[in-house]
Symmetry: none
Subunit: 156 residues, 2 copies
């Protein structure tokens, strides 16, 4: 039994004609061991699908409730935005989930999808878009390097 549940690595899988994709085996293990389901939604800021464990959204729901009151406008908009888009994806015995048209369209995914680990979350990209995004991020990281190093002490 592992202590931490982190989505990692980058895996490319095929999307078949019905929109089915194999969830990377590691991700499945995480979901099983955490006893939680995978939830996906459109990223607000990038042309990709974002996923996480249902637990995280549960926590988010609680946070929003505590931070704002029942009639708060912010709470209203936030919850619509996030939960209105999210969907539970239980994988079948072979480990596949079926992504909706809406999600696939948003990420411009056709027959191939790239899973990118992000720790508590992960993203699903169209392969070409991800290639571009990765070089963009890497370049940006090199320029910002001093800041990155001091603030986080990251290596990886």
């Amino acid at each position: 039994m592992r202590k931490t549940f982190l989505f990692m690595d980058t895996v490319t899988n095929k999307v078949d004609s019905k929109g089915r994709v194999s969830l990377p085996a590691e991700y499945r293990t995480i979901a099983k061991e955490a006893g939680s389901e995978i939830v996906c939604y459109r990223s607000v800021s990038s042309p990709c699908i974002e996923g996480c464990l249902e637990d995280l959204l549960e926590k988010l729901a609680a946070d929003i409730e505590n931070a704002t009151d029942f009639f708060s406008e912010t709470q209203d908009e936030l919850t619509n935005l996030i939960f209105g888009d999210a969907h539970r994806y239980c994988f079948d015995s072979t480990g596949r989930i079926m992504l909706s048209e809406k999600l696939l369209a948003h990420a411009q995914i056709k027959d191939s999808a790239v899973f990118v680990g992000k720790g508590r979350k992960f993203q699903i990209w169209n392969p070409e878009n991800w290639a571009k995004e990765e070089t963009r991020i890497r370049t940006a990281a090199l320029q910002k390097r001093p800041t990155l190093t001091t603030s986080q002490g990251t290596t990886a």
Copy 2:
């Protein structure tokens, strides 16, 4: 048995000539597993119907009682509105509920209804109105992004 009971996703269902609508299957499952009934009322802030588990209204009532904020006149009035308006909607064996004229009129719903998940609650919209509302919220969210980031601890 799931751990969390969150209303999610956005699904569009038809309202037939008798005023019947299928409650999304996920919502039904939640109601069943939570052992609570679905309650609906007119939103106090938007032209839509709002729904939740009876449990949540129970909690709201308790919160009001415990709130030593004796002078929250507004909240008091709002709760009057909600409890005065709320009604239990038990779905039949095929999973449908029958929304009242009052609710349908308030949300301007005719022959099609959009269910929008909000975590502990959900909303029911007229499709056109929801389309407008969604773009409005998404635009607003992008502008308010810094606020969003701190409350969620999001990176994206």
